[in-house]
């Protein structure tokens, strides 16, 4: 082998292979800590949101599911999000891209209130 070839075989190649293996195993730079597609759940039942306060990371999607036998809505008090009227078993999802505290309520039964804390 020539000296150049020996360098390639002995040093560059293994380094390249090692780097390839390293990057193959590591997560992508822009990944979030959640496995992608995971949804945080709020269950609507008995005229209440459960959990009443839900804490999620930035970028999380929250899904409200109405398990009550009466229609409800999930509407942010600061006009950030607004569901349509959810009849039994209907869902509404919203993805929180900014940190903050989001109060919401049911516009049909306003005593029903909840909070999503995004941090």
């Amino acid at each position: 082998m020539t000296r150049k070839n020996m360098w390639v075989a002995g040093v560059a190649a293994p380094v390249m292979i090692a780097m390839l293996l390293l990057f193959a195993g590591s997560p992508r730079v822009n990944a979030v800590d959640q496995p992608s597609g995971a949804s945080q759940e709020v269950k609507i039942d008995n005229f209440s949101f459960g959990p009443e306060t839900l804490t999620v990371p930035v970028g999380a999607t929250v899904t409200w599911t109405n398990k009550d036998d009466i229609p409800h809505t999930s509407v942010s008090t600061d006009a950030v999000f607004k569901s349509k009227v959810l009849d039994t078993d209907e869902k509404f999802s919203y993805t929180f891209t900014k940190a903050g505290t989001y109060s919401y309520y049911c516009t049909i039964h306003p005593k029903m209130t909840g909070k999503v804390v995004v941090q």
Binding site: N46, I108, P110, K111, T113
Partner: protein, 340 residues
């Protein structure tokens, strides 16, 4: 059941000076009223000779009249508490049509529909075409406001009304006011009338003689029954202050799907049964909402309200009738007499 009726009236007379009725009296009421009807009485109940005589004897002499209140038909609801609300509405209509007298008109105190859908309103209208009284007044419930702030509702039932659907009219010397307390509800709050409507109400009542009997009707109760479940109206105190000077005020509400009554001075409050499904008594369940009862009892916890106005006493006698009984089983209240 004339004997039982007489017993109840005697019981009431005995308790006229107390603030409530004693436990025996309460249990008597419960037995007479049937399963599922809840009574709340505070203050004495003035005895009404009108329904002691039996409210079927309707004298139509000079100005006496009757009207019927129905409420909470929830057309579109189809869960176990009542899979066929259209059928029970029809039973209510049949009951009205079977009365010995035709009521002058009907008042529907809201939650006409379950989801404000055009098809639901259509079904209701179709059913009501067969009722004996041809004049029907409506106020919306929160279930009727689900499409664009009640757009569908107002298109159909909002003629001649203002704002979110309030209005007033006079009938044979009695002044009726339909109020809307289900629009623009605030987070954490109960029912709400709002500034604009309150201003209109104050103006509407101005200058009327205090001897004019007043009837206010609205969906959510205009007195605080159970705040945890939103059973009340945040700004009703202001509305009630405008009617304080009148000699006879009757407040008719719905929303809670059970009978509750209260008399405060010259104001009589009354909530009606639903024609669709009952709800639990305050605090007896994890939440409000449809309450399932055994199928053979459903007709007894749904009902209509017959209101009889007597010129002589300038009073209104409110009598509730379950759908499933042959006659009225629950005695109502009589609005206070006279004025200045």
């Amino acid at each position: 059941m004339p004997d039982k009726k007489q017993d109840l009236i005697d019981q009431k007379l005995q308790d006229l000076n107390n603030d409530g009725i004693d436990r025996r009296g309460f249990l008597k009421c419960m037995a007479w009223a049937g399963t599922g009807l809840v009574w709340t009485m505070s203050g004495g109940i003035p005895m009404s000779r009108a329904f002691a005589k039996g409210h079927d004897q309707r004298s139509t002499k000079g100005g006496d009249f009757t009207f019927v209140q129905i409420s909470d038909s929830h057309i579109g609801f189809n869960k176990p508490a009542n899979p066929d609300v259209t059928a029970t509405l029809q039973t209510a209509i049949n009951k009205i049509n079977a009365m010995s007298h035709t009521p002058d008109f009907i008042i529907h105190t809201g939650d006409l529909s379950q989801l404000s859908k055009p098809s639901e309103f259509d079904t209701l209208d179709q059913a009501l075409k067969g009722v004996s009284a041809k004049q029907i007044y409506f106020v919306p419930g929160e279930h009727d406001m689900l499409s664009d702030n009640g757009e569908q509702y107002l298109q159909r039932y909002g003629k001649g009304t203002k704002g979110s659907g309030w209005s007033s009219f006079d009938h044979k010397g009695v002044h009726f006011v339909g109020l809307v307390n289900v629009a623009n509800l605030k987070a954490g709050g109960m029912g709400s009338l709002g500034h604009e409507q309150l201003e209109w109400l104050e103006d509407d009542l101005k200058g009327r003689s205090a001897s004019t009997p007043i009837v206010l009707y609205a969906h959510i109760p205009l007195w605080t029954i159970y705040p945890d479940w939103g059973w009340g109206t945040d700004d009703s105190e202001q509305a009630l202050s405008y009617v304080k000077r009148f000699g006879s005020v009757t407040v008719l509400n719905g929303h809670i799907h059970q009978i509750m009554q209260k008399i405060e001075g010259k104001v009589s409050f009354h909530t009606a049964m639903s024609t669709a499904f009952p709800q639990p008594a305050p605090g007896t369940a994890p939440s409000a909402g449809p309450m399932k009862v055994p199928a053979d009892q459903l007709q007894r916890v749904l009902g209509i309200t017959d209101v009889n106005y007597l010129v002589s006493g300038r009073s209104l006698a409110v009598v509730d009738s379950p759908l499933g009984d042959s006659g009225s089983s629950a005695s109502g209240i009589s609005g206070g007499p006279g004025g200045s």
